[in-house]
């Protein structure tokens, strides 16, 4: 796999190769080169299968980390390709021409994180959250509790309890006295 890491570094400036376990590794590339590196991995390095595409909201450093999980069936090896994009202007190249199912993931990115993939088909159509009028719900600063309290009514008689405190009291009643 070192050859692949070196080749990715040479061609696309990939960095921070990390072997998570013998059959799974991760690597970082710049957002502007992610499409080209994925195309090369698919067409020339045998990573033909896109397992999934998702994002992680790293709000502390004002970035979304995109995660492309690929698989090389011949070598039985998985590769996770990461790239960071600006959280205030979240845009990334579409990969729908590389994999036929990628447009659905990109539609999800738009709806759940507000990440735009220009040119991706049907990206503005509602996916899971029909009629959603709040900020993208998978962002870390989306307060799901506040949203629920503002949108729905509590059922009468329901008591709320902090799960950790509740379990502590239940499991260790003496300690919580």
């Amino acid at each position: 796999m070192n050859e692949l890491a070196n080749e990715l570094a040479r061609r696309y400036g990939a960095r921070d190769w990390h072997d998570q376990r013998p059959n799974l590794a991760s690597v970082w590339v710049d957002a502007i080169r992610v499409h080209d590196s994925l195309a090369w991995l698919k067409d020339s390095a045998g990573y033909v299968h896109l397992s999934f595409l998702t994002a992680v909201d790293n709000i502390e450093r004002k970035a979304f980390t995109l995660t492309y999980a690929l698989r090389n069936h011949e070598k039985s090896h998985g590769l996770i390709v990461h790239c960071d994009i600006d959280r205030d202007n979240p845009t990334i190249d579409s990969i729908h021409l590389l994999w036929g199912q990628a447009w659905t993931y990109q539609r999800e990115l738009k709806e759940w994180f507000g990440i735009d993939c220009p040119g991706s088909p049907r990206k503005d159509e509602e996916f899971v959250l029909e009629g959603w009028d709040a900020p993208p719900m998978m962002r870390r600063d989306f307060d799901s509790l506040a949203y629920s309290q503002a949108t729905y009514e509590d059922r009468p008689g329901r008591e709320s309890a902090d799960p950790a405190a509740h379990m502590k009291q239940k499991l260790y009643p003496e300690a919580s006295l």
Partner: protein
């Protein structure tokens, strides 16, 4: 026979139809419809009795699992993860537990490896039994469903004996499994496998030699082998197209490298061949369960000691753990920031591809009466899309 010629318009290129012309009819199939798997909905555009366009709509059953999990302790997510796939919750339990163990550096005992493998094969069998009832029922063959759901109940009896739960087992937990096998359980497993195998013989005779089933299922929803990589198709849908990929063999997780089996493959991935292949995988599951019962260590620890779950912090890192469920590649991507709650969990379900990109493309050109049969033949399950 290729009854439905390859649809010319891929789903990402949306076709437009003059709905005012009187030539077309918009029809919703689902979310409450006997021909729909799970609470999913298809918006169909019909010309005569032929489907010319289809959009998959999800979000009617479970939403927000991934968001909820970010707010809970690692251990508190266990009652959640199993609910992402009702017919086979154990794959969620395994992928989530294995991901946490990998990040936390926990090695599970050998007995737990075998018990997890047993649990996963048993639930594969139960899920396939539920599926084959739906597949036969979609083509008007209700008797098969009565037989197969009864057989599934026998497997659920085994789960109840093993874990106390019939549907959600929460048997696979970080560090191993929740308990050892009860006394006499393995004998019950073998006896149940004998009963189910006999029933499968009957199902094969009645369903797969039925002229109506053959006429309706053969040539329906053909998946060409080149679509497998293009659309990320996995599991029996890919294997029926001749692509011999099975994560149990390719990754070799749990006790699978120590078991004797080969992935089953077909030639033409139409509804008939896919169902035949899944029937073969049911026989295979029975064989694997028998092997597991024979090879499994009879004693030894079944669980590794864990830190206090209320204060359990997972070291920062990320991993992706996948397993071969009945529908294909099922996986959990887990990111930890070193705190007591996950930073991000993404669930990869095979239906994400099969029920949207592949379904929307395959259904075009199909007779409206065959939509349900085609959908079931892809073995789609919407909660793993909306999660």
């Amino acid at each position: 026979m290729k009854r439905d010629a390859m649809p010319r318009i891929p789903p990402e290129e949306k076709a437009t139809f003059d709905l005012e012309s009187g030539k077309y009819l918009v029809m919703w199939q689902g979310p409450q419809h006997p021909g729909i798997t799970g609470n999913m909905s298809l918006r169909l555009v019909i010309e005569g009795d032929t489907v010319v366009d289809c959009e998959t709509h999800v979000g009617y059953l479970h939403r927000g699992f991934e968001k909820l999990m970010e707010r809970r302790l690692y251990m508190q997510n266990f009652p959640l993860v199993c609910r992402i796939a009702v017919p086979e919750p154990d794959f969620n339990e395994y992928c989530y537990a294995a991901a946490l163990e990998e990040l936390a550096g926990i090695e599970i005992p050998d007995k737990a490896v075998w018990l997890r493998t047993l649990s996963l094969e048993m639930i594969r069998l139960a899920s396939f039994l539920m599926w084959i009832g739906g597949q036969a029922g979609a083509f008007g063959h209700g008797t098969i469903a009565q037989w197969s759901v009864t057989m599934r109940d026998y497997v659920l009896d085994l789960f109840e004996e093993l874990s106390g739960g019939r549907i959600y087992h929460m048997y696979i937990i970080p560090g191993g499994v929740r308990g050892d096998v009860p006394k006499g359980f393995l004998q019950h497993v073998l006896e149940t496998m004998d009963i189910i195998k006999k029933n499968l013989d009957d199902i094969e005779l009645v369903m797969f030699h039925n002229a109506v089933y053959k006429m309706r299922a053969q040539g329906l929803g053909c998946i060409p082998p080149e679509w497998v990589d293009k659309y990320g198709i996995t599991g029996p849908n890919a294997r029926a197209a001749g692509v011999a990929r099975d994560l149990r063999k390719d990754i070799g997780y749990l006790a699978y490298p120590r078991l004797d089996f080969q992935p089953l493959v077909g030639k033409v991935s139409d509804a008939y061949e896919r169902s035949q292949l899944r029937l073969g995988e049911m026989y295979q599951a029975i064989d694997l369960i028998r092997q597991i019962v024979e090879l499994m260590p009879k004693d030894g620890p079944f669980r590794e000691k864990l830190p206090n779950p209320l204060y359990w912090k997972i070291p920062a890192g990320e991993t992706y753990v996948a397993a071969e469920c009945t529908r294909g590649e099922y996986g959990f991507y887990v990111v930890s920031d070193g705190s007591d709650k996950p930073r991000r969990i993404a669930v990869r379900g095979p239906s994400y591809t099969h029920a949207v990109s592949v379904m929307e493309r395959l259904v075009r050109g199909v007779n409206i009466a065959d939509v349900a049969g085609l959908m079931v033949s892809l073995h789609t399950y919407p909660p793993e899309i909306e999660r």
